[in-house]
Amino acid sequence: MTAEAPTTSEQLVAKLATASAGRGRRLLVNVALYVVCMIGALAVASVIIVVATDADPFDVFHAMYEGSLSRPSAIGLTLDRAMPILITALGGVIASRAAMINIGLEGQVIVGGLLGAVVALKLGLPVAANLPLTLVASALGGALWAGLASLLRFWRNVDVVISTLLLNFVAVEVLSFALNKSYLLQETRDNVQLLPQSDRLPSAHQLTRLGSPPGFSVSSGIFISLVLAGIVIFALGRTRWGFRLKMLGMNPNAARAAGVSMAAVGGGALVLSGALAGLAGGVIFTGTAFRIQPGFSNNNGGDGLLVALIARRNVAATIPVAFFFGAMRAGGGFLASTGVPRYLVDVVQPLLVLAALLPPAILFVWDRRKALRLAREEAAAHERPALGAAA
């Protein structure tokens, strides 16, 4: 057996990288795959549109573009929709760095918005302190909800995926309970039929809007989300804490041996992840919704988790992906006003997400096959039993 025979998978992949026809071609293949998959997704959507209605698919896609990107006001709306998704996604990324899937982002958004609303509407704080304390309270709410999952994980070893999943549904009921009790959050006007919703946030306590409605206008919450994105990108990539988190995610045993505390770093990451999701709830409340209603989060947590998992390997990618999801929401709203059933956007958007998932997955399989073939050739050249021959 010769020493230079590449046997480990790392060496094989390294050899593969030099053996394939360079980076340029790989990039080309990657781009081509994405284009083909996106066209495929739009084709499937078109077929559904044509078969089920007599609408022209092109009109539908054009209306979605018009509602999300065509005009400055549409872009403002897209940014408004994208900002809470981005903040939630940052939370999702932090948890998934430590190899924990925080499925409970939605519940944390809800509890965050709820606690923020209680502080903003019920405490009668001075105007200057109201907005900042509302946002702090919403972050605390999300942290508390994620903290429950963290506690269960490190006290009773309950799987995080499972506990956060279950806590989502408890959060929905807590919200519903609070909105149906006048001594908690239900609106306090007495001359109308009371709805299960909170009072409206007075405009003095809202996040300021930049620009005026006919033209470009966006909530200042977008800056909160972009600044947070910058901080998270820096913290995960350039600090000791970020390195420890990554270590914990990649190999918990090695991390423990190196003195990284599972409970402090891992549990802390989960709580921080919840705090960001809760803050997203606060930003929805103070930035765009101004009122807590049963569906105020509108699956922001779900979209945030999707963004986080799609962009997992590259934190900066959360920004464009969240923007895409925001554009889909804005375009969907506009589509509804053109008379096409609004559910169509819920068909087009997931099809595009599935299409975006395919290229990396296909490349992964191709690379493996190539590596396996190379390993066999290498083994044959050294007259050794073929690697993977048993498969």
């Binding site: 046997t7 480990t8 998978s9 094989l12 992949v13 559904i48 089920a52 209605t53 899937i101 499925i103 269960l152 009773r156 070893n157 309950v158 799987d159 995926v161 499972i162 506990s163 999943l165 279950l166 806590l167 989502n168 549904f169 408890v170 009921e173 807590v174 519903s176 309970f177 149906n180 699956n299 779900g302 988790l305 999707l306 998992l309 799609i310 997992r312 059933p341 559910y343 169509l344 956007v345 819920d346 068909v347 958007q349 997931p350 099809l351 997400v353 599935l354 998932l357 395919l358 997955a361 296909i362 992964f364 399989v365 493996r368 590596a371 396996l372 390993a375 690697l387 993977g388």
Partner: protein, 301 residues
């Protein structure tokens, strides 16, 4: 019929759709796949069940079409996650949005004349006090559980396939070394889940309501996830979990009529909290499949 009998009847009706999907998710989770697209499978089953009953003019055909619809969702999910390496939660969340959007969209654009499954009154025993009506007067779809549940148990606990599947759920590396194709087993278990969850959805729409409403399943898919967890990854426990959720729902509907006032939110949340508490205090049993929700990637050599 007294109050208890009425509540029990309602509980059984609300449990049945969950129980079909629960049996399927039990199989999938024992193989190590935590599938959150049950909601997508159930709502597809519910819609296409009604669609099928309308096209073929027959509720039984509707059930079959519903099962096929669930299977299609499962095929997409399993192949993306266990043939390619797409993250199972990403795929699940996306499919849930897609199925809800698609069924809502199609509901507005297609006219249907649905058919409902008929009622069966088991002779003699349906006259029994208290349990007579709940157990022996039901739509016939409910009685399919008598076949499905023991079959799921037998498949997982008493066949070679089931043993191999459980090995994939506990220690995929070891299973792989003994020559089991881990991802193939997981795909197959998800297909089975798709068929059963589609059946569950169709049992709700064709079997009970007799029509399809927008967002008809309303989170029942996630309830099934919770029920399997509550049941400690055992089939009997899973069925108990499904019944707990069904009974809580039945109580929520019935209590105001009887004159009790309990906030409905407490009743809806209670089973979820119960599942969490069960996890906390029975943690020592540790019946969770060791490799649950962990993807298996084979080494290159």
């Amino acid at each position: 019929m007294n109050d208890l009998s009425i509540i029990l009847s309602s509980a059984i009706r609300l449990t049945a759709p969950l129980a079909f999907a629960g049996a399927g998710e039990y199989v999938a989770e024992r193989g190590g796949s935590l599938i959150i697209s049950i909601e997508a499978m159930m709502i597809s089953g519910a819609f296409f069940g009604i669609f099928g009953s309308s096209v073929f003019g027959n509720p039984a055909a509707g059930l079959v079409v519903g099962m096929v619809a669930g299977l299609v969702v499962a095929l997409i999910h399993a192949n993306l996650s266990y043939r390619l390496d797409a993250n199972t939660f990403v795929v699940g969340l996306t499919l849930n949005v897609l199925a809800l959007g698609l069924t809502s969209f199609l509901l507005e654009t297609i006219d249907m004349t649905p058919h409902r499954a008929g009622e069966i009154k088991v002779p003699l025993v349906h006259n029994l006090p208290v349990i007579g009506d709940p157990l022996f007067v039901n739509r016939w779809t409910v009685y399919l559980l008598i076949v499905v549940v023991p079959l799921a148990w037998y498949l997982v606990q008493r066949t070679r396939w089931g043993l191999e599947l459980r090995a994939c759920g506990e220690d995929p590396q070891a299973a792989d070394v003994t020559g089991i194709d881990v991802n193939l087993r997981r795909r197959q278990s998800v297909y089975l889940l798709g068929i059963l969850a589609g059946l569950g959805g169709a049992a709700l729409s064709v079997g009970q309501v007799g029509l399809f409403n927008q967002n008809m399943t309303a989170g029942r898919g996630f309830i099934v996830n919770a029920a399997v967890i509550f049941g400690g990854w055992r089939l009997l426990g899973t069925m108990a979990g499904c019944f707990l959720f069904g009974a809580a729902d039945a109580l929520r509907l019935a209590l105001p009529a009887i004159g009790y006032t309990l906030p409905p939110q407490v009743l809806i949340a209670a089973p979820y909290v119960a599942a969490l508490l069960a996890l906390c205090f029975f943690a020592k049993r540790n019946t969770k499949p060791e490799a649950l929700a962990r993807p298996f990637v084979r080494g290159i050599t």
